[in-house]
């Protein structure tokens, strides 16, 4: 059995870590497709219905690339009541079959009991490779994988801060890229901890202006386009180049932390956010739509300068959210960006740049400074 997965941010590192603990290495028991590129997108677009959303197309492209490398068992999420994600696996399985790949899908139900479903999935994968894997080995592999994702998110948080105020543009990105590789290359928790500390230190030591007070923007929206940089045209990096500090409320580690543990204790990661959304939207509209509305309100209260709302083109939940967000009384500018294969990089950059100027001018006005001197 050769397991293949579609890309989603740094999720592949977690999968690789778990697989290594359970005796599968890249190329043998496990196939990690190449990082997403235009080729992935072209494949996905070619073999998807036109009206499908970008996450569908990109994950399909990524799975095709995994199959090209010999994957025969593919992992994909599914669920009920979420959004079109519910039928991703079925549609993609059919398409891969039509393309002549004899691939079998293992789906992960993320609508209920995510923790148990995940363990079950790992067990069925592990037992497919070896006769019987003891439960404690599965659990330990699982936690090791999660540990890496948490470490990476910690490093990224520091990178997001430094990126905005570094003196040499692009330096933090290079360090962050190195960190991702270093974390991916070690296979014990002690080293993961050491590397995390080392790279956070490196980032903090990059020449930067500690007195700078950069414009702060939160990125909210649909989870796939928020987390996967390829899907949003590296919008975080572009904002960093403009000297903006970015915070992403959705991260893999947050999702995992709550979905897998705290939810079982009755603590919902979104309780606060849903409550804030309530005056405008009081029920789930699928996907991450409800959360996007609440996040906007939260960002306004936390004193962010602006919000960038990322949504796949044609994403119903986010379209609902976008229209509601436009009319909340919390006064914070929102830039809606629709992500799809037609999106032009230049157009996106122009909008983002203008948005950042807007935020900067607003700030000057708020602080009683002259917005712009004339004549």
């Amino acid at each position: 059995m050769r397991i293949g997965i579609p890309h989603l941010g740094n999720a592949y590192i977690m999968v690789r870590a778990m697989a290594a603990r359970l005796g599968a290495v890249n190329g043998e028991g496990l196939v990690i497709p190449p990082p997403m590129t235009k080729k992935t997108l072209d494949l996905g677009v070619k073999y998807s219905p036109t009206e499908a959303c970008l996450p569908y197309k990109l994950t399909l492209g990524s799975l095709i690339e995994a199959c090209e490398l010999g994957a025969d068992t593919l992992i994909q999420a599914r669920g009920t009541g979420i959004c079109r994600l519910g039928y991703y696996a079925k549609g993609q399985e059919q398409m891969l079959h039509d393309l002549g790949y004899d691939a079998h899908f293992l789906t992960l139900d993320i609508s209920h009991h995510k923790f148990l479903n995940m363990l079950r999935l790992i067990r069925s994968v592990a037992n497919g490779n070896r006769a019987r894997t003891p439960l404690h080995e599965i659990i330990s592999a699982f936690f090791f994988g999660i540990g890496k994702v948490i470490a990476l998110d910690k490093i990224e948080k520091v990178a997001q801060k430094i990126r905005a105020i570094e003196l040499e543009k692009g330096a933090a990105n290079l360090v962050y890229k190195e960190a991702v590789k270093a974390i991916d290359d070690v296979f014990d928790s002690k080293n993961v901890k050491r590397i995390t500390k080392e790279y956070i230190g490196k980032l903090n030591k990059l020449p930067h202006n500690p007195k700078a007070d950069p414009v702060k923007v939160a990125i909210v929206g649909e989870i796939y386009v928020v987390i996967e940089p390829f899907a949003n045209m590296d919008i975080e990096m572009e904002l960093g180049k403009l000297g903006v500090e970015v915070e992403r409320t959705l991260t893999l580690s947050r999702w995992i932390k709550y979905s897998l543990f705290l939810n079982y204790l009755g603590i919902s990661e979104w309780r606060e956010v849903h409550k804030l959304a309530e005056p405008y939207l009081d029920h789930d509209v699928g996907g991450d739509g409800w959360e996007s509305v609440g996040e906007k309100v939260l960002c306004a209260r936390k004193g962010y300068d602006g919000v960038i709302h990322l949504a796949p083109f044609t994403c119903m939940p986010e379209i609902v959210a976008q229209n509601i967000m436009a009319s909340t009384k919390e006064d914070i500018p929102v830039l809606a960006v629709a992500c799809d294969e037609q999106m032009g990089r230049e157009g996106m950059l122009t909008r983002v740049e203008a948005f950042v100027d807007l935020l900067e001018f607003r700030r000057r006005k708020r602080d009683g400074r002259k917005v712009f001197s004339v004549g």
């Binding site: 590129t37 590296d234 122009t350 740049e353 203008a354 100027d357 001197s373």
Partner: protein, 321 residues
């Protein structure tokens, strides 16, 4: 006399403006880009040099518009700014009580919402070029009239034809249909203007709170038919500022004047001799990964000045040889 140069390289036209301390251009030039921005920038510079007063000293240069990166490298800009900010700044300075800006250019259209002297929201056409200058020019050609006469015909219309404006392709076929039904030319032309304003308001301006005073600028603001359609839609006068077609360049010049005034830097302007320099713009495909990015590069006298266009910054960071 200190002066600041604003250069707006759009898809269809290239505009250069020279500002001193006031907001009235000292001199300006308006050229058709004709798909050749490098030559037009050079010609524009040459024209400004000839037209400007003798004692002028250029203390700052800013570029804007879709060709801003290229222009910035060519002439040594102190500031490279997006056109939305440039337009907003210029209009706020020239029309102090403005609350809404309609800007329709050659290939894109924008709306900018302003409240109490700050931009609060903006929109830009993303998927459809309906209502932009290029489309109007194309239709004028079809109707066998000059684009300059378009507005005059529209003003004479009494019973405008209802033309579908959701999509340019449908607008065109609808127009052909109305022609074959025998509608008078003036009514078709004004019907087209109305359709384009409808399209603009339903796409670019969707969900935006439009309040007076409204300013209308960009190349399409030359078109009296579109102005009439705007006026009739809002039942109020839409204001077309003087120099409406130069607003982007004026805004860029204002922004660089502000910036150079506050940081005290010396300008990076390479001088008017740029118009004599031989530039070569080329592009190649980076084959380092399957992204196959198209990298643009500009060189002068055989020396590469800059590269851009990649998804990663490999080429931007690469030592320029």
């Amino acid at each position: 006399m200190k002066a600041y140069l604003g250069v707006d390289v759009g898809s269809v036209t290239t505009k250069l403006v020279l500002l001193d301390g006031s907001n009235e251009p000292l001199t300006s030039i308006y050229l058709q880009t004709r798909g050749n921005p490098v030559d037009m920038i050079k010609r524009g510079l040459e024209a400004i040099r000839k037209q400007m007063p003798l004692e002028v000293e250029i203390c700052g240069v800013a570029t804007t518009g879709s060709g801003r990166a290229l222009a910035g490298v060519m002439i040594g800009a102190d500031l490279v700014k997006n056109e939305i900010t440039a337009h907003a700044v210029a209009t706020m300075s020239c029309v102090p009580d403005v609350q809404t800006i309609f800007e329709i250019g050659g290939q894109d259209s924008k709306i900018i919402i302003i409240r109490d002297g700050v931009v609060t929201d903006f929109g830009m056409n993303s998927v459809c070029a309906a209502g932009t200058g290029s489309f109007l020019e194309h239709q004028a050609e079809r109707l066998n009239i000059r684009i300059e006469d378009f507005g005059g015909h529209a003003l004479k219309s009494e019973n405008p034809a209802r033309i579908a404006g959701r999509c340019t392709v449908f607008a065109e076929s609808d127009m052909v249909h109305k022609q074959q039904m025998g509608y008078p030319l003036n009514d078709i032309i004004y019907g087209l203007c109305q359709a384009l304003v409808r399209n603009y308001l339903n796409n670019v301006a969707l969900n935006k709170e439009i309040r007076p005073k409204m300013a209308f600028q960009g190349g399409v603001a030359f078109n009296k038919g579109i102005i009439r359609a705007f006026n009739e839609t809002f039942r109020t006068e839409v204001y077309v500022p003087p120099y409406s077609e130069l607003m982007g360049a004026i805004g860029a010049a204002m922004l660089v004047r502000h910036e150079m005034g506050s940081n005290g830097h010396r300008t990076k302007f390479k001088g008017f001799s740029v118009s004599q320099t031989e530039f070569k713009v080329s592009s190649f495909m980076c084959k380092a990964c399957p992204n196959l990015c198209e990298i643009s590069q500009i060189s002068a006298n055989g020396k590469v000045l800059s590269r851009w266009g990649g998804r990663c910054d490999k080429w931007e960071r690469a030592e320029v040889k």
